[in-house]
């Protein structure tokens, strides 16, 4: 019995190791990874590979955020927290992929949904751990304010007002966390533009579409459609964090 468990564990670790290496290579060369995903003939297989890539990316990004979660009282064993967050983020990816697909259709490029998902995952969601790393300061402060909101038992409108007041007071007396978050957003903006340019270039190449059309479609999706999905997804994730966060974490706020 124990040898069966050992063998099962070994094969699971081997499988995960392979996926981890695959993700690492994809992050190093997203263009090659994207093209290899697009080269897969079967749509189901392409989506399966895409979701594998996303799952590993999620696990790595979870590891990046784990100290922050533990600091605010959410351990690795809190499956009732991690599972909904994974679900919301995955639905967010599907939603963003749908927005991109819809935008391409609006601009007259008839891309398949699996292609769009593969392109979006390879160029954007593969870098979720990097995004988490750059957002560390923002999340540290965000969790602090969220914990304070929970400790004070504020309702939604009061919480929104509290966030507004906190952001004004932080801007008046900026500390290194404030500057860190500003710096991160300045770094993330060009990275986002590069990812969008890669997506648009790949779509134009694959569907032999005019470059202006594919670029306009990607910009339209990024600026108009995707924010709507991101806001809904962000609120769902924030609510889950609110439910599970420990109120003691508000000590992270400046006094």
């Amino acid at each position: 019995m124990s040898s069966e468990v050992f063998e099962g564990l070994k094969s699971a670790l081997d499988g995960f190791g392979t996926l981890l290496v695959e993700w690492f290579l994809a992050a190093l060369n997203p263009v090659r990874k994207c093209h290899s995903l697009l080269a897969i003939k079967s749509e189901a297989e392409r989506i399966r590979k895409t979701l594998n890539l996303w799952a590993v990316s999620f696990l790595v990004s979870l590891t990046v955020f784990l100290p922050l979660y533990v600091y605010y009282g959410i351990g690795l064993s809190s499956l009732e927290f991690h599972l909904p967050v994974f679900l919301f983020l995955t639905l967010g990816i599907i939603g963003c992929g749908f927005c991109l697909w819809l935008s391409l259709r609006i601009y007259g490029i008839h891309a398949t949904f699996s292609d769009v998902m593969a392109i979006y995952t390879a160029y954007v969601m593969c870098y979720q751990p990097l995004l988490n790393l750059f957002s560390y300061f923002v999340y540290f402060r965000f969790f602090g304010v969220l914990a304070a909101v929970k400790a004070q038992g504020l309702d939604l409108s009061q919480a929104a007002h509290y966030f507004h007041v906190q952001s004004i007071s932080l801007a008046k007396s900026p500390d290194f966390i404030y500057f860190g978050s500003r710096l991160s957003s300045w770094i993330l903006l060009p990275l986002g533009c590069v990812s969008s340019a890669l997506m648009a270039g790949t779509v134009a190449g694959r569907y032999s579409a005019p470059r202006e059309k594919s670029f306009s479609a990607v910009v339209f999706a990024t600026m108009i459609l995707v924010p709507l999905v991101v806001v809904i997804q962000g609120m769902l994730v924030a609510f889950t964090e609110y439910v599970f966060i420990s109120a003691k974490g508000s000590a992270a706020l400046p006094h």
Partner: protein, 141 residues
């Protein structure tokens, strides 16, 4: 499917994407955010707030359209539109980017010095954009 991306053209395309995003920002989110801010400040829509909203929208929506047109110009590597968009970015940067940055405020600089810093940094950025575009065109030929 050919992989036509080299680093220089990718950088130029990214600038094109950025300008296009700014265009949509001015066309859609600008008026919307302004309307929300006016609602928040005035509580109920008044004649003054409506006139202000319409007046500002009449300026920023065409400006957004102009940015979108410039963005397409960068993607197509059109020289006139690239020079125009670099100039617009410089003007925008002076007004929005650096003039009110918290680093500038903390540094105790005068508004003139902060504007000057904006001009210098964005002029440098414009030179880089133009240089990259030129290089992208040369590598494509």
């Amino acid at each position: 499917m050919k992989n036509s991306t080299n680093l220089v053209s990718l950088a130029v395309d990214s600038v094109g994407i950025f300008v296009g995003m700014l265009g949509w920002m001015f066309m859609v989110w600008g008026p919307l955010i302004l309307a929300l801010a006016l609602c928040y400040l005035a509580k109920t829509p008044t004649a003054t707030s409506n006139v202000l909203l319409i007046f500002v929208s009449m300026v920023i929506i065409p400006f957004g359209l102009l940015l979108k047109w410039l963005s397409n110009g960068i993607i197509k590597r059109g020289w006139v539109r690239i020079i125009l968009s670099a100039s617009v970015l410089i003007l925008l940067g002076i007004r929005l980017g650096f003039a009110y940055s918290p680093i500038g405020i903390r540094g105790g600089q005068s508004p003139f010095e902060r504007h000057l810093m904006g001009i210098e940094l964005l002029s440098a950025a414009a030179v880089v954009i133009l240089g990259l575009t030129r290089a992208a065109r040369c590598s494509g030929e």
